[in-house]
Amino acid sequence: MTKTFTPSRPIWCAGCGDFGVLQALVSALEELKIPPHERMVVAGIGCSGSLQNNLSCYGYHTLHGRVLPTVTGSKLANPELTVVGVGGDGDGYAIGGGHLVHAFKRNPGVTYIVMNNGTYGLTKGQASPTAPTGYQDNLEEDLDPIMLGLSIPGSTFLARAYSGQPAQLLDLTLAALKHTAEGGGMSYLEVLSPCVTYNDTYRDWRTSVYDVDAEEGYDPTNRAAAFTRMQELREEKRLPLGLIFKGQRHALESVALNKDFPAPALQDIGRPDISGVCNDALQSFIR
């Protein structure tokens, strides 16, 4: 066996919610028998953006906020990879917020896990886009990315878990990976993942989370009903967990690539086809 990097120990504080996310992701990848060389884990900037160092995979540490464009490019170039993007709420909703909208509407075959703690832990506790009004003098209303996702017609898988409830977190991680592996496109999983140092929300969240998976009659395939229910729960100051929405739409790579060829990353490009397509292109300039 060729030796390669040894996954490092996480850099997170004891009690950080991100441990639960790492544990669930590793368990889910193993349960689905995805070998390390087929895993591509792309992480953002922030505490959560070091997760790729902690498991065996092809890991890439992207620029701040650019997880989604990066995973979209990777999946289009090599759809055979299991591409997982991970990052925090500042990375995904603030500096990278614009990309979230376009990723939902594109629906690339990637899983995107956001570890949401409502704060910028690595820079010592400034308000993030999901921080409630009043946190650190925050004057703004907090963003609900699930409702954002529901409002974009291309989205196909929206779920929320809580790292304090590991069984459901694992189930939803598995469901997310499966949705994507089955050609459903982008699976978006937000995990409420408390920052024990700058925004310890374990006590608040334990009582305010609400599981729609357990709610009788909740229909995750009904976008409008899901949106209405999210709004009601928001007004009740509850944090909805579970599979919020699952829709059906083709994955980006299934329509963007020319199926007559292997994936772009897997083609042998060493010798140009100079009597075929190269010559056709040349002749198009002569005609």
Partner: protein, 595 residues
Amino acid sequence: MNNNTKPRLEDLNVIVAGQGGDGSLTVVNILADVLRTSGLRVYTERDVLSRIKGGITAATLRAYNGERLCISSHIDLMVAFDQAAIPKYAFRLNAKSIVIYDSSNGELTAESKLPEGVRLIGVPLSRYAVKNFRRDIYKNSISFAVIGRLIGLDDGQMKIAFEKRFGRRGAQALKYNLDALNVGCTLADNAGLTIGEGLFEIVATDSKAHMLITGNEAVAFGFAVAGGRFFAGYPITPSTDVMEWLVKWLPKFGGVVKQAEDELSAINMSIGAAITGTRTMTATCGPGIALMQEGIGQLGMAEIPMVIVDAQRSGPSTGMPTKPEQSDINLLCYGGAGDFPRVVLAPGNPAECFHLTVTACNIAEKYQVPVFMCLDQGLSQNTATVDPIDLSSVVIDRGGRLDAEQVSKLEVYKRYLHTDSGASDFAPPGTPGGMGLVTGNEHDEFGLVSTDPVNRNKMVAKRQHKMVSMKPELPLAINHGVETADIGFIGVGMCYGVILEAIDLLAQKSIFAQYHQVRTLWPMLDDTPAFTKRCPNIFVVEYNATAQLAKLIIAHGGEEENINNILRYDGIPMQAQDLVNTVISKLNLKEDEVA
């Protein structure tokens, strides 16, 4: 008319001007196609505004019996769809010029500032277009008949050109345009321009088939042939045609093009594809390069290959989006946070755009660095006839890539292994056993984050050493003209054609000059500073206000005392005669003395 008195058409310059949306470019494109099939080489240029319709715009064509990659200073024939366009370009007319203008709204007024002797032909183009087709736009097809008759095309030739141009737009479009051509022929008859009595006799010696191609198209074509399989971009003038060509063609090569939501996304999608081991390119211009700057630093730090096209336009900021400039040279060579290796290649013509893009793909992948293709609006968008590219000359060098078997034979695989060249062999994701970490943080050989000072020094040296090891593979300058001449020009991109013509014009006055055509701007290779030491009167020609190219050369040991600057940044392309005049006045040459 006696044939012997006809001017020989060896160098025809035509400007078609009007309001944006009048179809000036269409007329010039059809004319270019007809003339190139007659054996002349053609070059076209556009002067457009950043709006879809309206404003005074023009398209210019030069047809030459030989190669010229610029427009001449004199215009033989002007076609004006709007009389208001005439004063803007009248200074380029002379006593022998002919002006065809739309007389629908009356005869030409005295304010048109025309030189004495210009022959005026008023044709009611718009009136006949509206009368016959109820659409003003058909005036361009009507005008084509008048132009064709003037320069001696026969009606059959014009019909064939129209069938080629409009045939693909459907039977109805073709019919209307052919009808418009007929209306034009009748108007030409009325104006005394009868069949076979054109004012010129086309003289052409080259009957080979040529490509008609822009720099942008040549870059895109070169990328596809070189095995480029992923492109992400965001539309921005004047780079957009790179993406447009690839949207049409790259899927046929097995590749994919993705239009991103902005340049930040474009470069990061490209990074996402590049880290899977796919040859990847993006294209933009100055404002986009500024937005991509963080990603470009990431390519340098994380050792990711990519080709980035900069079709430079007039800056700073939004500047003059449709106008040429070469003012991103500093940005390309020095831009970005921190120190990292990069390459900047500067082609001078469409054929070089093709070949240097192949080189750029190879260097990028072999050394795992960003490589810029430094173009400008003129080179990017002007069309030129080019000898068919020899596709068998394309060689692909992917550098050190490891497959599963090669990985399995290693005791240890390190993504950022220290090597003699500075570049480390790379196992693309999906390769069993080749797991690695890629990061823009400082890292150790495995890609694990590290701030250890010893490791830091070794890693900085590793990356910087690539600049040394790649040097023998980078394109050297090409010297044109008389090698012993003590007048020399340096210039890149759209300066290429102008400088080459200026050398010819000077030689006609027995003033001999040479052109040192730099093709690698970064790293600056030794031959360029050396040239500035041995040639005493050098003119560095560039489109910016601060002499960015000249300063780059001086910073690398160029001889400042030998260098004069010719700078232009008003959005107007230079002409060879401008350079000739500057050289003569700067060097106090008296033409009769040197002749």
